[in-house]
């Protein structure tokens, strides 16, 4: 397991995710992967390429385009002691399985008085930016983060893509993993993890003193570039990666705002009722008197994501929007 060793290696987010799955399939025979085109096609986004050849069609199972049935089958298999990884092509399609995720996966443990934990991992892509139009481009992480009984994680870095799957599989409860489609080609050096990866804590990706930029998933790279631009102007931005959207780690956010006294929340979802709304409310509840400026939010325009390039770009949060929001807070 190259990425799990001691050496730094060059890899991509896609390969890191694949390596995580390969390790899981190798190390635990209860683990299997199923979903749309995960086998012969190699995964809709190429994440599972080669796994069918290595592990065979029993453990890398192509499913019909029946989101409800194969997600529900994952729940049943998990109840029976397996450790399924279920892949759904995009979050838009996951709505066809929302009944299974909400009414069964998230609920069975509680409804059964603790008798039926569901150790299931569901992976899906999210987000826009590739001109795929409204039905392949939405960001509904906040909807899932609304639901008690599931854990929602959004690996934004190559390290997290490589190292968050194992603890997700070790979690006795359902974990939903959001992979932003624009991250798959991101490449970089993958170092062995400095500490065990847990799924409870946000991470400070760049320390700073003047303003907190709070992001997750596909918005993290934009926040980091915005922080570079702000640094060039002499504004020191701290960049926080939420990583786990449920349960939210507000301690890292609160501590950061206590240092910087200003916050910008970047979220590719629509502003109304978004995760950004939740984070802003938590800041208001816990850090109001630390704030020197109102919390700023950079979200998508309230429109189904359009196809045309210039329309899509305008609809989505961009680096310039983050910089402008930071200026409003600082000035």
């Amino acid at each position: 397991m190259g990425a799990g060793g001691t050496e730094v290696s060059k890899t991509t987010y896609r390969e890191a995710m694949r390596e995580a799955m390969r390790e899981a399939l190798r190390s635990d025979d209860r683990v299997f992967l199923m979903g749309e085109d995960v086998g012969r096609y190699g995964g809709c986004f190429g994440v599972s390429l080669g796994l069918l050849e290595e592990f065979g069609p029993e453990r890398v199972r192509d499913t019909p385009l029946s989101e409800s049935a194969f997600v529900g089958a994952g729940i049943g298999a998990a109840l029976a002691g397996m450790r399924p990884i279920v892949e759904i092509m995009t979050v838009n399609f996951s709505l066809l399985a929302l009944d299974q995720i909400l009414n069964n996966a998230a609920t069975l443990l509680h409804m059964s008085g603790g008798q039926l934990p569901v150790p299931l991992v569901i992976r899906m892509t999210t987000g826009a930016g590739r001109q795929l139009a409204a039905q392949h481009s939405h960001s509904l992480e906040g909807w899932y983060a609304h639901i008690p009984g599931i854990r929602v994680i959004a690996p934004a870095t190559i390290e997290d893509a490589r190292h968050m799957l194992a603890p997700a599989l070790a979690d006795p409860d359902p974990v939903v993993i959001f992979e932003h489609g624009s991250l798959y080609n991101a490449s970089g050096e993958l170092a062995p993890p400095a500490a065990p990866v847990d799924l409870d804590h946000a991470a400070i990706r760049r320390p700073g003193t003047d303003i907190s930029l709070i992001a997750y998933g596909g918005s993290l790279p934009k926040a980091l570039v915005a922080a570079d631009e702000l640094a060039a102007e002499g504004i020191s931005a701290e960049v926080i990666d939420l990583r786990t959207l449920r349960p939210l780690d507000t301690e890292v956010v609160t501590a950061s705002v206590a240092r910087t006294h200003r916050a910008v929340v970047i979220d590719e979802a629509w502003r109304t009722g978004s995760l950004a709304a939740e984070v802003s409310a938590r800041i208001a509840e816990e850090s109001l008197y630390e704030l020197d400026a109102p919390v700023e939010r950079v979200c998508s325009e309230e429109v189904p994501i359009p196809y045309a390039r210039q329309l899509e770009e305008t609809a989505l949060p961009q680096i310039a929007d983050v910089v402008a929001a930071a200026h409003r807070a600082v000035d």
Partner: protein, 361 residues
Amino acid sequence: MSVARSTSARKSSTAPKSAKKTATSKEKGRTRPPAGQSSAEHRGDLLEAMLRIRRFEERCVELYSAAKIRGFVHLYIGEEAVAVGINEALTPEDAVVSTYREHGHALARGVTAEAVMAEMYGKATGCSGGRGGSMHLFDASRRFYGGSAIVAGGLPLAAGLALADRMREQPRVTCCFFGDGAFAEGEFHETANLAALWNLPLLLVCENNLYAMGTALAREHAQTDLAMRAASYGMPAWAVDGMDVEAVEQAASRATEGIRAGTGPHFLELRTYRFRAHSMYDPDRYRNKAEIEQWKARDPVSRLTDRMRENGELGARELARIEHQITDEIDRAVESAEQAPEEPVENLLRHVTSARRRVVS
């Protein structure tokens, strides 16, 4: 009759039954009645199991009227032959996935009247710790996966239980109960396709009671021959008289034998009828009395009772003994539920997530 006497009577009648189940659990393709038990004895067991469900639910009506139990309560009265007949073909190692009308399924599966009644009361000792109520009965130790109140929501889950068994080559059957209303949901069709495609050891039991809530079969289905439609997925499927417990058992045994032999999912359409309304809230305006009376004439409990009487297998004394025993069992379940502790409100957030997961690198 004294409590002590009936307790011992109950024990003596249930103990051999559970021993019998354990003994036969490893057998595959068994036929009824099991060796060493006469048909008459076996029919007596079937009658007792149906009566337990009937009397339990009649008590539920009283308790609901007395506001002792609340929520949506969906009664199974009239459909007892289905739960009892199907359960006879299952072993303790098999899994059962059920619906919101599941008191009968749970009791037939061996979940105790005490645990079910305590759950109806919302007590800590209920089979779901008071979180589920009438619609969400669970018992992991009996592989009873409840209790889904989303019509057809249990079907994909049942396919997953069967998939796990298939992948680990466990010779087990997963039985999924659902209604004619669920047959109209996409989840039924997705599951039927997946189960047939993957040759899963799944028994699909459609309880066709002719109404999806208040909507008659012909108003919900373009083609009302459900078994025929299920057969189009390439699985054995047949319709059964759901008011005849022995016919149900026979069909279920045939189906589970096929499944255990590796021939994939089987579908049974049980033609049955609920004598009561959809739920305790339902004024039942969509059915006429004549139809209900017509079906009551086929009551599965009286039908088996009459059959046994005609065969000389059941005397008035024996029937009275069974009735007393069941009444006593339910009395004690109610008393126990009344006395049982409430789940402390401090525990409200328990079981939302598991206690603590391991942190691993």
